[in-house]
Amino acid sequence: MSLHGDLLDQARHLAGREPRRPRQASLRRAISAAYYAVYHLLVAEATRILIRDSLLRGRFARAFEHANLKSASRAFANAQPNQLSKLTGGVPVPPDLEIVANAVIDLQEARHEADYNVDQRFSRSEASDVIAQAAAAFQAWQRVRNHPAARNYLAALLLWKQWNR
């Protein structure tokens, strides 16, 4: 199975451990794994489409930055009509791509809190919701991945900062 698929499975496994009183460590790692499942799904898709030489894909994969993912996703999640030509060449952003972009933003923040905010406590429902968002992003991506706007989105994930200098 793929790395992103394994990470989503791992998130589900961790969130379901300790049926009575889940450990905070399990829930935190579940949330983190859910974000990285979506992150690696998009990075794998981007490098597959943008980089023809498969031997170079791993190197390009390391060039993606979380901040770029968030900034690009915010633009695609709520694209205004006057931004469409820049974002997609004028094509409207399909609802499934909005689902993916929204999930990237939400899951990235949840991952940051889960990994670094020791004051915050998490519940199993919160972790389950994060995983459900990741799973919904997987499904939405499968439906939209061949859309022209989706290809622009993948390029934006890598190049957002450079495009907006």
Binding site: N78, D106, E109, Y116, R121, S123, S125, E126, D129
Partner: protein, 220 residues
């Protein structure tokens, strides 16, 4: 004269008290409109399920009147009295049992008195009021009991708000949970977007039991 350590403890206790008070205030104030078709029995069950979230001694356990020397003496006495009444009622509610109508009514009066006396400490600004107004105008699915909200900046420094949606127990079980959370999240996102609110809404979900556990666990 207090030592720096003692000073830190005092400041932290006051901070904790006000933080819990804001949290309880939100759960208390944010009554939600729910889908039509709800029965009287549902309404009673919802009220009983939500009351323990704010009617708990944990809300006022860090209160110390000496930490509020800036409040006039008469108001401080009223505040202490209201806190004592609230704590007494909250302690009289048996664990794992819903509060009675009289307990909820009496606690509401005491809690409202606390909020009135400390209104200057509970942040209010125009944007927050506008966002509350928008959210309170929404009609949520019947699984939603109440909600809490915090404002701040997210991990990348962007203005954001965090919404904790409190659900009835059992709502997080099964496949319908994902449908429920996706629907509520989209409903909130759309409402804020239509109102041109630029803060990003991070919407999180907990059941009533989880909310209680987390509140108690945070103070243990």
């Amino acid at each position: 004269m207090v030592s720096p350590d003692e000073y830190d403890q005092v400041v932290m206790a006051k901070f904790q008290f006000l933080k819990k008070l804001r949290h309880a205030r939100n759960l208390f104030v944010h009554r939600v409109h729910v889908d039509s078709g709800i029965t009287d029995a549902d309404a009673i069950a919802r009220r009983l399920a939500s009351s323990p979230l704010w009617l708990t001694p944990y809300v006022v356990e860090d209160f110390d009147p000496a930490e509020f020397p800036e409040i006039p003496d008469a108001d401080r006495e009223l505040l202490s009295d209201a806190v004592d009444r609230f704590a007494g009622i909250a302690r009289s509610v048996p664990p794992n049992q819903p509060a009675t109508d009289k307990q909820i009514l009496d606690a509401t009066v005491a809690f409202q008195a606390i909020l009135d006396l400390l209104q200057d400490y509970i942040e209010r600004d125009r944007e927050a009021d506008e966002i509350r107004r928008i959210l309170m105008s929404l009609t949520f699915p019947r699984e939603v009991l109440t909600w809490d909200i915090e404002f701040g900046t997210d991990s990348t420094g962007d203005p954001a708000l965090w919404l904790w949606i409190i659900l009835v127990d059992g709502a997080a079980d099964g496949d319908e949970f994902a449908v429920l959370t996706a629907g509520v999240r989209e409903q909130i996102r759309r409402a804020l977007r239509d109102a041109r609110i630029e803060r990003w809404p991070y919407v999180r979900f907990r059941t009533a039991s989880e909310e209680q556990e987390l509140l108690q666990g945070a103070t243990a």
